[in-house]
Symmetry: C2
Subunit: 194 residues, 2 copies
């Protein structure tokens, strides 16, 4: 399993030395998962922070009408976890499922504690990572409500350019909070613009 | 302005020395604000993290129907900011307003950077604070939708026991995502139970 991507990822925010990265890499566990595998189900405690080396996953909850609502897609070079459940070690309300065969590098709760003891500057990396996460979450709640369906889809394409070719359209519709039929109309409109 | 509460607050997560706390306290700016004062308006960059020494504030956004939606109340011994706007130094979509006369201790973006340079273990404090914040935010989105109005109100009372005596009922209704009339019915039902 190559560590170059994950090391590049953490060095975006903090300049870690080769020794520090070696300690980090030793604490990671490679995980290869087939498509349609659940890493987390509602009710379980999330015991991992996963870095996606290859593949694609979705994180979702089931709303009061029994509908799946996708809150995040994770593709190559991004992180996936339920931070709330992971940090409090409390039961999650979320599901995390692979949508493709996936290679992950996974940090357990215990190994993260060990990492933070051995390399305290990872506190800074995680503080910044979680702040960005809050920004994304808040954007999704507060700003997206005032955008049109077309704007939401264009935003989505900017963030996840490869996903329309990789995942079923109804997943994208669930992420965008619209019906698959409506998303289809948006895409038709967009293709006529091109 | 007394620093004992804020120092106790940050020491819940990390054991800071007296010297480290002195550096921290020097970087804080006391702020006294009258009731109904805006600390942040949508469109502005949030340049503070505020610790509430006394008083009460609300953080809200205006939804697509022009309705105010309260996402947080802050009372004594709690923090208020728009972390997303503060950390990226990007325009906020939120409003922060005092509901009572308030005394705050405020950390500017520049002073926070200085604090993190001088006392790197504050990275750990902020990492944990932001993780708790995500947990609260996520709970509000994902779990509250499946609760009844009564459960939501009891949850609210557990988190903010003093607020029903301190703020107008319509603010509480806005926080709980129900009409003031409906909240009134819930409270009547509850008072009959007692």
């Amino acid at each position: 399993m190559p560590y170059s991507e994950i090391n590049q990822n953490v060095c975006r925010y903090v300049n870690f030395s080769q020794d520090e990265l070696a300690i980090f890499n030793d604490l990671l566990k490679p995980k290869t998962l087939a498509k349609k595998h659940f890493l987390l189900r509602a009710g379980e405690v999330c015991n991992f922070e996963g870095f996606v080396v290859s593949g694609c996953l979705r994180k979702y909850y089931i709303d009061e009408n029994g509908q799946e609502v996708i809150i995040q897609f994770a593709v190559e070079n991004s992180w996936i976890s339920d931070i709330a459940s992971f940090s409090n070690q409390s039961p999650s309300g979320l599901f995390i499922e692979t949508l493709e065969n996936c290679e992950l590098l996974v940090l357990s709760h215990q190994n993260k504690e060990e990492l933070l003891l051995k390399v305290p500057s990872f506190e800074r990396f995680y503080r910044i990572l979680v702040e960005r996460n809050i920004a994304v979450l808040q954007n999704r709640i507060h700003y997206s409500i005032s955008k049109t369906a077309m704007e939401k889809y264009l935003d989505f394409l900017a963030n996840y350019p490869s996903l329309p070719q990789r995942v079923a359209q109804h997943y994208i519709a669930s992420y965008l909070g619209m019906s698959a039929e409506f998303l289809s109309k948006v895409r038709t409109k967009l293709s006529k613009k091109d």
